[in-house]
Amino acid sequence: MAIIERPTETLVPATATPAYVTPDSGLGVFRRPVQSEGWKSWLFTVDHKKLGIMYGVTAMAFFVIGGIEAMLIRAQLAGPDGTILSADKYNQMFTMHATTMVFLFVMPMAAAFANYMVPLQVGARDVAFPRINAFGFWAFLFGGIFINTSWILGGAADGGWFMYAPNSSVTFSPTNGIDFWVLGLLITGIASQTGAINLIVTALNMRAPGMSLMRMPIFTWMILVVQFLLVFAIPVITVALVLLMFQRQFDATFFSVEFGADPLLWQHLFWIFGHPEVYILVLPAFGIVSEVLPVFSKKPLFGYPFVVFSGAAIGFVGWGVWAHHMFASGLGPVSVAVFSVATMAIAVPTGVKIINWTLTMWGGKLRFTTAMLFSVGLIIQFTIGGLSGVTHSVAPSDTQQTDTYYIVAHFHYVLFGGAILGIFSGLYYWWPKVFGKLLNETLGKGNFWLMIIGMNLTFGPMHIIGLQGQPRRMYRWTEARAGEGFFNLGFWNLVSSIGTLILAIGVLLFFINVWVSHRKGTVASPLDPWDARSLEWLTSNPPKEHNFDRLPTVHALDEVFHRKYEDVGTDGHHEYKQVATTEELLAIEEANADAHIHMPSPSYWPIVLAFSLPILAYGVIYNLVLMVVGAAILVLGMYGWALEPSTAPETDFDQSPPSGGSELEVASHG
């Protein structure tokens, strides 16, 4: 490739007046890559499906890391005066466990599902901004790696994921751990923010013809709500993180009491982000469950509009309850009373969801596949978490429970029982769609039961431990405060630690299942293994690069179901008859494929731009010269991005038809 690329025109005879020719691509160095196979196709991809898979794989890797951290914590606490970890390491461990699980597993896992499924569910060929989408993934990956490099660079952050000031200032945490944490979260925050805007535009602007908002699949709806939450929540945490960065790096005094600052500022900023964050974590799982339950109940989601609006209501009211994390921080009775009542209010839309899921199953035709089991498990486990949440919406009761293991039990029932069970439900449900192979159901059921037993053994006893007065975040507990008899803390701590082992085996079964399904040549999945209802099933498994041969026209919620089945009942009596199989539906689509499909070309620049961010961050911590290097890469990346032609030239592409089995000629640009 040359720096200068000129049009390759045929030589014009000197005698004739040369024709003015405007070339179709100008600057060679900024040509777009075209690989659709091999590692480069993943590195430079802008395909929402590839990015979704990469989000998922990365998130799963962080899930394992966070899980190992959790197991170390439980190993330390299995007996009194644990010595497996030092106090310092323990503090780093619980900080990073929460940070990893929240920011590097559940959020990106939701992004994985959203990236993969939202365009498919709304009948689009990709997200609205494919390159920004790729940038978001790489920023998340590099940010996550950046945070975790602190382990080998002097110790990880040790202030708790809530990082309360002034304990987070340099005086009280002299290592660079918190700097890594702050800058890493700023980077992943950029990733989340770009992803959020991308998905909002995709869901609002790129829906297939006929798909009104009230015909939009419920998973996409929940993702839409979550993205709006992100758009407003990420700036708040960004402000807080920037203040903390200035406090630590440039001796600012935002949280220095001796200069008249009030440390509660941090708590307000953090929880104004932190509470919506809870819904950011759990609503995608709610969306998954709301997809899975109808499919395996052979019934539409009961009260679809109620579920949609309760999701939106959670999105709004979620902003007015942040101070319930601060009932013990001395707000004064009026604030406490207001936030206490507001917190009770938010239980209502959450309760509505539980009721609707139950009523979806009511009168249905339930098939208990692994995906369904995880969803039913979620209803039960999340209900426990929700109800323990109600007990500390009552502020005086909360002052006894906050910062004890009771809270740990509560939010693990909410986040493990809610978010993670939902994620596993989604994994089993959509696995054939994404990879074209079914996961083994027997292993899957083992996976489910071990996880359910494991989580209840791990987190169930924490209710008791907490109510018996064991605070959180203690690197050791003492026999002297353990009590005796049934409520002995030693016994329940041990049970809890054993529970993590069972839980870990359960998760391990999932990975074995994946390995089995992909290594042992399990038969390819049928096109529609679950008799599903929404638009993502109107394409091949895995979907073609361009998703749909023709953009589908939507006539109803649960479009695919209504294409497959017809109501042949009369006089208010309903009887459904299958009129088409999914294979037949797909054949119709393929026969009427669009002549020209424009897909975005891959790009070098998202990964370059994202790569500059951790370099800049290392520069902030270690050396300003490194910052200059990072800034140079950043500018180069932006420059390259801006100058990149909108397409790769046709001639750069392999001329053979793209994979996916279609005979179509696909022009991969536009």
Binding site: R6, T10, A14, P18, Y20, T22, V257, E258, G260, L643
Partner: protein, 372 residues
């Protein structure tokens, strides 16, 4: 292979290396060697690019373009960059004998000239289509030029304005900038009224404005800043031992500058009868002594209910090597409040006479502070 331009550059590279060796051996100057070697590296890099890109010389490997490219078909357009480049060299020279700032400006001018010149030459050889060539130049150059120009413009405005503001007297600043604002508004109004104003006119007006700003700024910078007035603080008062009844500058509009914390350790009230009392939740409404912890910033709110301006003073006793340390609030108007943050280094029993809040001018106003 080696184009004319690259030969020149390669020769310069070799020469720089030779000079570096000679200089290093004869003058033993590491800085000079470093500079010359840097120059060699830079020249070599440019030479490499030059060779790689064919010296922007289309005919080297594309004979067709030699006839169809815009550059081959018509004379090159005018270019300001030779002049700028030469001016830059001149400035470097002048700077070497006067002040380094001029050298820096010269170097920047040379750099700008080199880059722009290369861009222009390159784009003119791009294709046979002049419009297209202009487009690719803009595409490459604008992202570079626009931020730099905007930064320079912003810097000129900020520097010019700030120099003028710092040089003029307080009243003069207000007058000057009221006038400038009015003029800007007036011109804007004129242009709004006369929509068909030529861009040349507009450019002229802006240019005059910028020149005026630069000139004013330069004059102001030369004439220096006016005397700045530093507002005194109560800490300075305390340091000089002037926490008395006399009003000082630190006391001006004191009650308007109160940082009323939502949360105080105690509220100390001076009553009209000249008595000092304290209220702390948990005790009866007004007590005659207060217990405050040691080594802790205690926020005490002073409420003046007397008829005169008063201040609250506390003597903290000698600390370390220093003599007795005093803290005080500003003079507080009748009915107003002010906050005093006080940190006790020593317990009361270690300070002669113990710690006491007093109010200068009111002998009866004494409040005992117990520091355990």
């Amino acid at each position: 292979m080696f184009t004319t331009g690259s030969k020149l550059l390669l020769g310069s590279t070799a020469l720089a290396v030779v000079f570096a060796i000679v200089y290093g051996v004869t003058a033993q100057g590491t800085l000079g060697v470093f500079g010359l070697l840097s120059a060699a590296v830079a020249l070599g890099l440019i030479a490499g690019i030059n060779i790689y890109s064919g010296d922007a010389n289309v005919s080297v490997d594309d004979t067709a373009a030699a006839t169809v490219a815009a550059a081959a078909r018509q004379a090159p357009t005018g270019s300001p960059w030779p002049v700028v480049g030469v001016a830059g060299i001149a400035l470097v020279m002048i700077g070497l004998v006067t002040t380094s700032m001029v050298t820096v400006i010269g170097l920047v001018a040379i750099l700008a000239a080199v880059i722009e010149w290369m861009l222009q030459a390159w784009s003119e050889h791009g294709s046979a289509d002049e419009a297209y060539n202009g487009e690719i130049r803009a595409r490459l150059a604008n992202p570079l030029e626009m931020p730099i120009l905007a930064t320079i413009f912003a810097a000129i405005v900020i520097l010019g304005f700030s120099r003028i503001m710092l040089a003029l007297s307080k009243v003069g600043t207000v007058v000057a900038f009221s006038v400038i604002a009015a003029v800007v508004l007036f011109i804007a109004f004129l242009m709004a009224a006369k929509t068909a104003v030529a861009s040349r006119t507009l450019g002229g007006v802006v240019a005059i404005g910028v020149i005026a700003l630069v000139a004013g700024g330069a004059v102001a910078a030369v004439s220096g800043e006016r005397d700045m007035h530093v507002i005194e603080t109560t800490a300075a008062l305390a340091e000089r031992g002037q926490c008395g009844t006399e009003p000082s500058e630190a006391d001006k509009k004191a009650s308007q500058t109160v940082a009323a914390k939502s949360n105080q350790a105690a509220t100390v009230t001076l009553d009209a009868d000249g008595s000092l009392s304290v209220s702390v939740p948990g005790f009866s409404p007004s007590a005659q002594s207060v217990t405050l912890p040691r080594s802790n910033p205690n926020n005490v709110l002073f409420r003046n209910q007397s008829d005169h301006e008063r201040r609250l003073v506390i003597d903290l006793g000698p600390s370390g090597d220093s003599e007795s340390k005093t803290l005080c609030t500003a003079l507080v108007e009748p009915g107003a409040v002010q906050l005093l943050t006080v940190m006790f280094d020593k317990p009361s029993f270690a300070v002669e006479g113990g710690h006491r809040f007093t109010v200068p001018g009111v002998d009866t106003a004494v409040l005992k502070v117990v520091v355990p």
